[in-house]
Amino acid sequence: MRFITYREALHQSMRSALEKNCNSFIFGLGVTDHTGIFGTTLGLEGEFGGDRVFNTPICEEAMTGFALGASLRGLYPIHIHIRNDFLPLAMNQLINCVAKYKYMYGGLFEVPMLVRAVIGRSWGQGGTHSQSLQALFAHIPGLTVVMPSNAKSVISTYDYVVNHYRSPVLSLEHRLLYEYSFTVEPKSEEIINPLTSFLVKEGSDVTVTATSLMVHEAKRAADFVKKHEAIEVEIIDLHCVSHPDVELILRSVKNTGKLIVADTGWAPFGVCAEVSRIVASADPSMLSRPVINLSMAPTTCPTAKALEKYFYPDFGDVVHAIYTLVFETSDHGKELPSEEHKASQYKEFKGPF
C-alpha cells in the first residue's frame, strides 16, 4: 500500500494510457503548457511526441467532433477541459453525435473516447467555473458519466475505459480532490468493470449516496456522528452516475430506512432526483423518513465568500442531515462541526484556479 494524490493518479493514468494503448492521444487547451492541466499531463509531450499529446485552438465543438472522427478511424481520443463549464460549447457534438453514433447507425460504429473535465469549487470560482454538470450528460442515452472520488478510482476507471471499453466516457474530476492523498493498493491483474457504484463503508443507521467530493464530506460526517452520537453511516460512492449500482442502493436503503443523497450538482433533475426516483420506483415503503437531498443551492454560484459559503453543500450539512433523520427532527439541537473543522479539508486549495 502507498499514498498518492489524485493529481498523481491522473498523471499516472494519462501516461499509462499512452503507453498501453498505442492508438490513444491526448489533447486540450493547456495540455502541453508549463501547468499541464494541473500537473496531470506534464512531460507527456516530450515522452510521447507532439502527434500524441498536443495543445489545441480554443474550439470545443470542433475538437469534440474531431475526437469523434478520429475515434471512428481507430484512434482513442482523450480530450481534456480545465473546467466542465466549457463543455456546453461542445454540446452539439456530445449530444447529437458522440452519444448517438453507435445506436443511430445500427451498431455499425463505435466511438470510444475519454473526455476529462474539471469541476471547480470555492475561492470565488463564480457562476461559470464552479458548475457540476453531470446531470446534463448522464441524462443522454449513450454517454457514460463517471465522477472518480479517489486515486484508486481514477486509476482503475481510466485503465478500464482506455483499454477495455468501447463507448464514450465523460469523467468529471473535482478540482479540490486534486490535492488529496489516497492509499492505493497494488493493482490486481484481474479486469474488473469499475463503471458502477461502490460501497465505501458499511453502517446500519443511515445511507448516504454521494458523488465525487461529497463522498469525502460523507466520510468526514460519518466519523463525526460516530464519535459524537455512535451513529453508523453507510456510504455509497455512486461513481458512475449514468450507471449506478441500483441493487446496492436499494439493499442499503432497505436496511437503514433512511437516505441522504449528497451531490456536487443541483438537486432538481439531477443526481439527487435520480437516486430518489430509483428508490421511489422500487419500493418507497422501505423509507422510514423522507429522503434528504444535499446539493448546490438552486441558483448561480456567487463569487462573494459571504454568499459562496452557503452555496456548496459541505460536511456540516451532511452531519445535520444525518441527525435530522436519526433524531426525526431538524431541530435536533446537536452540536455541528465548527467552521474551522469544516474548512480544514480545503486549506490546501488557495486558488485562483
Partner: protein
C-alpha cells in the same frame, strides 16, 4: 474526358435522379415515414467528384446525402430498406434518410444538424495522416453550413494541423427558404484564404466534365501535399428543402431560375442516354424497393440494443 467516363458519370447521376423520383412517387403512400431531403438537381457534381475517390477514402455528408451515398457505392437495397424503417436497412431502421452511412465504402456518417460533420472529417483526416495511409477525407455540406461557428473552427484547425481534407460546399443559394444574401456577409474565397486554405470554384455544377476535371486536380493536390482545400460548387436544389414537392409558388425563389438550370441539365437534355440507361436502372430500383417492401420490421428487442 473520354466517352466511357462521361457515360459512367451520366449513368451514376441518372441512377440517383431516378432513385429520388421513385421516392417522390412512393412518398404519398406513407411507406417512407421520415423526412427526406432530396438530392435531385445536385447529383451531377457529386458523381463527378466521387469518381476520383478511392473506396477507402473517407466521406461525411449533410442530411442531403442520397446522392453521395449512392455515388460512393452505398447499397441501394439497404438504402430503401432504411427509408422504409426495416430491419434490413443499412442502420437497421434507426438512422433514416438523414443519417445515411456505409462504412464498407468509406461513408462514415451524415448529420441532420447543419455543419456538424465538418470536424468529423478533420478527426478522420488526422487518423489517416498519423497512419500514413494516403487516404483523404472529404466533407460535403451546403452553403448554409459555412455560417455555423464550427465551420470557422474547422478551417482554422485543418490549416493549423495541415490535414488532408477536402471541404466541398454545395452552393444552391438556399438555407431552407433563406437566400444567401440574407445570410452571408463574407465571400467564401476571402474567408478561406484568410485561413491559408486553397479555394476552388465551379460555377456550373451541372457541367460533369468541368467538375470531374477540377476534382481530379484538387484531390491529387491534397494527396500530394497532405493539406486541406475547399471546393465550392454552384448548383440548384430542384425541390423544396425537405419533402417531395416543388415550391416555386411560395414566393422565395423564381420558376425562371429553375427553368434556366433545367435547360442545361444533362439528365434532361441528353434524352438519348437517358433512354439507353433507364431500363437497367428501373430494374435495379424496382428490385430494391421490393426488397424493402418484403423485409421484416426490426423486432422490439432492437429498441434497447447498441445504446452503450
Amino acid at each position: 474526358m473520354d466517352r466511357k467516363t462521361y457515360e459512367k458519370l451520366f449513368y451514376d447521376a441518372l441512377r440517383i435522379r431516378m432513385v429520388e423520383e421513385k421516392i417522390i412517387q412512393l412518398y404519398p403512400s406513407d411507406k417512407i415515414q421520415s423526412p427526406v431531403h432530396l438530392s435531385i438537381g445536385q447529383e451531377h457534381h457529386v458523381v463527378a467528384l466521387i469518381y476520383h475517390l478511392k473506396k477507402d477514402d473517407v466521406i461525411f455528408c449533410s442530411y442531403r446525402s442520397h446522392a453521395a451515398y449512392l455515388a460512393k457505392g452505398g447499397d441501394l437495397r439497404k438504402m430503401f430498406a432504411e427509408l422504409y424503417g426495416k430491419k434490413t436497412g443499412m442502420a437497421k431502421g434507426r438512422a433514416g434518410s438523414m443519417h445515411l452511412c456505409s462504412p464498407e465504402v468509406g461513408l462514415f456518417g451524415a448529420s441532420a444538424i447543419v455543419g456538424t460533420v465538418f470536424p468529423h472529417a478533420l478527426g478522420a483526416a488526422y487518423a489517416n495522416k498519423l497512419k500514413n495511409n494516403g487516404l483523404v477525407s472529404v466533407v460535403i455540406s451546403g452553403d448554409g453550413a459555412t455560417e455555423e461557428g464550427v465551420f470557422h473552427e474547422c478551417l482554422n484547425l485543418a490549416s493549423l494541423k495541415k490535414l488532408p481534407v477536402l471541404f466541398v460546399i454545395e452552393n444552391n443559394g438556399l438555407a431552407i427558404h433563406a437566400l444567401l444574401e440574407e445570410r452571408q456577409s463574407y465571400s467564401l474565397e476571402a474567408l478561406t484564404s484568410a485561413y491559408g486554405i486553397p479555394y476552388y470554384l465551379v460555377d456550373d455544377g451541372f457541367n460533369l466534365e468541368l467538375v470531374w476535371n477540377r476534382s481530379e486536380q484538387i484531390l491529387s493536390s491534397i494527396r500530394q501535399l497532405l493539406t486541406p482545400a475547399i471546393f465550392e460548387i454552384k448548383t440548384c436544389r430542384y425541390y423544396e428543402h425537405v419533402g417531395v414537392g416543388l415550391d416555386y409558388d411560395k414566393g422565395y425563389r423564381t420558376i425562371e431560375e429553375y427553368e434556366t438550370w433545367r435547360a442545361r441539365d444533362p439528365l434532361i437534355v441528353n434524352k438519348e442516354l437517358v433512354d439507353e440507361f433507364q431500363p437497367q436502372i428501373e430494374k435495379e430500383i424496382s428490385e430494391a424497393v421490393e426488397f424493402a417492401e418484403l423485409s421484416p420490421d426490426p423486432p422490439k428487442e432492437e429498441l434497447l440494443t447498441d445504446v452503450f
